[in-house]
Every structure is written in structure tokens, then in C-alpha cells.
Amino acid sequence: MAAFRLTPGPVAAKARETDRKRGQMELTGAQILVECLREQGVDVVFGYPGGTILDVYDALYQTPDIRHYLVSHEQGAAHAADGYARSTGRVGVCLATSGPGCTNLTTGIATAYMDSSPLVAITCNVSSKLLGKDSFQEVDITGITRPITKWNQVVKDVSRLANVVRQAFLIARSGRQGPVLIDVTKDVTSARAPYEPLPLARHRVTELPNPLSRRLLGGIEAPEPSLADVEGLIELIRGAERPLIVCGGGVVRSRAQDELLAFARRVDAPVAITVMGGGGFAGDDPLSTGMIGMHGSQASNRAVDDCDLLVAVGCRFSDRVALKPATFASRARIAQIDIDATEVGKNVRCDHHVLGDARRVLKLVNDRLDQQDHAAWKEHVFSFATETLYEEGGDHLTPKQINETIARLLPEDTIVATDVGQHQMWAIQHFHFRHPGQLLTSGGFGAMGFGLGAAIGAQVGNPARRVLHVTGDGSFRMNCNELSTVEHYGLPVITVVYDNAVLGMVHQWQTLIYDRRYAETTLDRGPDWVRLAEAYGLSGRRVSNVAELEDALGEALSCGHGYVIDAVLDPDEMVRPMVPAGQHITSFLAV
């Protein structure tokens, strides 16, 4: 995070000049908002202007050290801020105007909420006198976003604005991270109030004259792990003969990859990785069993069934992992390491838990645990497949061919943003992510259209790294309008469309479960993705074999701007293995 500068920004400096005679620094609400963003070290925001947020845009216009990225649609702004947050570990910020502007953010906010991504959404509303009167572009966005934010607040009093912004950032980035929304009425953005800069380091203790400050010392931040609970976990590990570790999204959020690797080596246990855990443990590590759950590998899912201790690190046991809670890990004791007390025993029974940040807890465990040895158990687990095999040949690419070719030609630390569906599962199954923040995917909410926005945010936040956007021909048509953002800002995002001319995942369920009644899943229609890319001022290429894909990737890597590769797949290609929803974790329908 950029160091906080106590010197006010240009807007504040100018205002201070004029206010010096009066002996007080007075700013408009819009200027206070911008100064509060600077307090946080925010230098990038994604958004879309409109009537009620005009004053904020006017203040941003005069603040060159905050770069604003104009998107095509507010959903893209929310996803971009989310992708920025996930890939950098910083808080992402998006802006939208009242009414449709802010409702367009909601899918992006829900996506961030389900995946615990730190996001601050700033919306403006009609003037406080017009609130509640069904005014033009008025909507109760705090009411709408209450179930999908950690916290939200309407600001109708300019004197409260600065502290609300500070609280919003504090809540978004602390403890279990997540999105926060601030809704500022238009009259507040133009009203004037004294503004006193407050360095970020002081936001915790001295900030608030109100009772939230009492909470700041406790529940907002990560709980301090109990050493007794840590010892209890160590006892369980020492007593286990067949331990399994599950790497969840909490490992990624807390950047606990080194501690988890040391832990896995010390316990000498296989590690299964959830969708959200991708990047928390190297997919090609000898201890990795690959993905777990509905499309988990045989090794992962059978290990769940056979283990006698399951240690879940930052994993909430969603229905896509614990498909049937009653029989999940039925021979095992289940131990949870989680930052959030509400996750303990929420979805599956829990025999022991340690509350705290994953990195902190794992470090405490690693410092105390002696080396374990489970050679026979590992041999058992790794006798099952960790990857899916495909029949090759014919005039289509296989998912594995695409992923292997990409992995071979792109840098090892490439950030991969996915959409939702088959291509998402294939990407997670076959790319071996090694770094937290390397995989950006909507695991909890499953929002099609997430990928391109997230890729834009990641590229903005990581200008030196390569960003790959993996999508399907279903997902891509949802938010491909953001190609215009890719083009305008010269972002060299590479998009690979896994083009099977169907809504693949739903098509697959219809094949397996609905007796091949393909209701509304055939995409026998445009657009022509290459010509679409060209219409946006980018280039692209359609490919149907490895050699063509290699050529296209070479061109994409060297062209210096965004590029779209339309990769043709067999419409009947499936994501395998597959365990149907609600079934026992080894009831594979397809392997």
C-alpha cells in the first residue's frame, strides 16, 4: 500500500489557500471524499458518472493522482475493483451514480461478498430532501445491498462523511474481508465542512468519537488465535494416521501460501484445493491432489472419504465442496482454521476449531508441530487420479490441450481471470496456480460476466504482469462490452473464448441428468468473436488446433494490446469428474 502522505492533495491545497484567511480548512463533501480516498492510498478507481455523483467527478477531475477508469457498464466497474483487490491484496474502489448506476453494481458487490473480497463501493443518491419521494434515479441502494455487504451506510450529513469513509475502508479490509457500500446524498457532496487529514495509522484507535471505536479493538479485526486451540489441533494431528488438508479461499486472502506449504510438509499430508483456494497451494506440488468437490479429482474426493482427520484452512464447506454434509468426511474428525466464527460448524460438523487469520494460525502450529510421516496414506491417496484424461485428435481442441498450450507459452506468474462455467472448471483443474491472487474467479456467487472486468482490474493493478481472461461463449456475451475499456486504456489483456457453441455447463447437466433435452442452451448465433474484437479496435483469431493456438498466442503476446482468441471445442466435451449436487463426494457420475 502506498505510504500515506500528510500533505493534502491539490484540491485540498487550493481550498486551504482560500480558507487560510478564515483560519479553517473547509472542503465540499466531494472534496472530502476524494481526500479520504487519498488517506487510504487509493490511486485507482473504476466507475461511471451520472447526475447525482457529478460533484465527486468534478473533484476527481482536479485530482490527478487518482486515476479513474471509465467502464462500459457499472457491473464492469464492480468486477474490475474486485479483480484489482483480489490480485493486489489492496481494497478495490468503484463509483456509481444513483438509481440504475448503483443497481448495476449489485451483481459485482454480491460476487465480492460471496468470495470475501475487499471492496468499497461509493454511490451517490438524490439530495436528502428528495429521499423517499420516488425522485428521478432514486433507489434505496443501502436497503438493496444490505444482505450483500459487510456494512453499508447512507451519509446525509457532511460532517460525518470523513469518518464514514474511514470506517468503510477499515471494515472492508479487516477480519474476514468483504464489500462495503457508502451512499452519499447529492447535497452532502456540495455542502462544505471542516476537514482534518487523519493518517491511516491512526484510523484504528483515535478515529472515532462514537461507539464503533470500541468494536475496533475487537471484533472487526481478525481474532487472536487461542494457544490452547492451537495445541488441541496439534494433538489431533499427532494422533492422525490419515490426515487431509483442505486449502480454501482464506489461505489466498491471508497470503498464507508459505505457511501452508510448510504446514503440509510438516504434517506430511495431501492437500486438496477448493475453487477459492486456487493459488494458495501450488497445483503441481507433489502433495497437491488437485481440486475438491463437485468437479474435484478422484484423489481429492476419495481422500475426503478415507481420511481420519480433515484440517480445513479458510474453507467454508460450500455445497459445491461438502455436497452431502451428512456423509462428508464421515470417518474423520473435522478441524477448522477460520477467521470467521460464524463458519465454524455452519455447513458441516466441526470437532475442533482455531479462530484467527490463516497465516497467523499456521505459523503458530508450524512453530510447535514436529515432523509427521504418512507415506502409506499418501501412496493410497495418490493411487487415484489427480487430473482428468481426454481423448485427443479430431477437429476440436480439448480443454487440456488449450490449457497446456497456454501454460507453456505464457509467463509462469500470469494472472488468470475466469468467467463461470465449464471453462472455469477446466482452467482451475489444469492450470497449476502457484501464487495467491493469480486465480480470479467467482467461486461463491458464480457470476457469469465476472472475468473481463476482473481482468481489467488485475491488469491495472499489475501493469508488469500478463493477464489472461478465460471465458466461454456464454459468459463472454454478458460483459464483452468491456473490450472497449481494454482498448481505450491500452490494456494487453488476452481473452481466450472456450467456444463450444453451447452454454456448456448447463448443457452438460442436461446431457447427464435431463435426458439430453437441451432447453435454451444452444448458442447457434453470433457474434463472430474475432470481428467483434476488431470492431472494438482489437485483434483476434479463431483456432481449432494446437498449432493455430500457439500462433495466436504468440501474436497476442507480442501485439501490445488486447487480443481475443476464439478456441473451438466439441460441444459435448464435459467437465470431468462430476459428482451431482447433493450426492456423496465419491458418487462420480462421470470420471
Binding site: 444490505r146 451506510q153 471494515i171 464503533l212 470500541r214 471484533g219 460448524g345
Partner: protein, 168 residues
């Protein structure tokens, strides 16, 4: 299944009650009683929640409450260490043939007549939930026109002050 009484101190601000109740709805907690009021300080409101369910569900409810940033502290009441009370207003039909029986019953329960007209009598009674339930049950023998009860409020016995409890 058993009944739990939980008090929460929250910031007395716009939208906080809604945030608490929408959490109950979203997480599928079925609340049997809810009272909200201002407190000894204007910054804080006190919410008392009645919940019937399994212990595991109650633990989940408490954890979800503690997670809300606006919740300052919470307390799960033990019936032995706390005082609980509820207020009832009940309007019954005033008929010659039943009046004396009704007034006798009310007298036995120390219910107060707070309105008396040719058509109806309104009784007021405060006490524990079971006592209120019993009184309503007795009144069913007559003609109940309307019932309004406040839900339970609770305080811990002794000198403990909830706003000073730091359990989050």
C-alpha cells in the same frame, strides 16, 4: 429445542434494526419475539430477541450477531440470573353474563382495567411470558377482541452493565 433470550446493544443509528432483522431473515432464523428501545445512552439501542431452536442454531445466531459491525455487545440470558418481563394489553367483550367472571380472573392475575366501556374492557398485565400466556388462555373463555403484547425485555440481576461488557 428450547427457548433462548438474547440481548444486543447496537449503535442507535438509521438502518441498524433493519440490518439485524434482515440477518435473521436471510439466515433463516425464526424469531419468536423482538423488542427494541432506546437505552440509558442515546448512542445505543437495546434489542431483545427470543429464539426457539437447537443449541447449534442458537450458537450460529449469536455468532452472526457478533459479526455485525453495529453490534457493540450481546448477552445470552440465563433465566436464573436475569429478570424478564412482558406487557400485555387485551381487549375483551363486555357482556353482562360474563363480566363478573372476567373481573375475577383479572383480579387473580393482578391485571389492571385500563379502559371500560359498554362494549369492551381493556386489561393490562405485566409479567413473565408464561403468566401472560395463561391469562390470555383464561380470557379465551370469553370473547377476545384484540391482543397486543410487547415481547420480552430482560435485564441481568446484579450490578452488571451491558454496555460495559466487552465480549466481541
Amino acid at each position: 429445542m428450547r427457548s433462548y433470550s438474547i440481548a444486543i446493544m447496537v449503535r442507535n443509528e438509521y438502518g441498524v434494526l433493519n440490518r439485524v432483522t434482515s440477518m435473521f431473515r436471510r439466515r433463516q432464523f425464526n424469531i419468536t419475539g423482538l423488542t427494541v428501545s432506546e437505552t440509558e445512552t442515546e448512542e445505543l439501542s437495546r434489542i431483545t430477541v427470543q429464539f426457539v431452536g437447537e443449541k447449534r442454531a442458537k450458537n450460529q445466531l449469536v455468532a452472526q450477531l457478533a459479526k455485525l459491525p453495529d453490534v457493540i455487545s450481546f448477552k445470552e440470558f440465563d433465566p436464573d440470573d436475569s429478570i424478564s418481563c412482558e406487557l400485555l394489553l387485551i381487549k375483551v367483550s363486555n357482556r353482562d353474563e360474563t363480566r363478573s367472571q372476567m373481573l375475577d380472573a383479572a383480579n387473580a392475575f393482578h391485571a389492571k382495567v385500563v379502559d371500560y366501556t359498554r362494549d369492551a374492557i381493556v386489561f393490562r398485565i405485566a409479567g413473565q411470558t408464561r403468566r401472560i400466556d395463561n391469562f390470555i388462555d383464561l380470557m379465551r373463555d370469553f370473547t377476545i377482541l384484540e391482543v397486543c403484547r410487547t415481547g420480552v425485555v430482560s435485564l441481568e440481576r446484579g450490578g452488571t452493565v451491558m454496555r460495559n461488557v466487552s465480549n466481541i
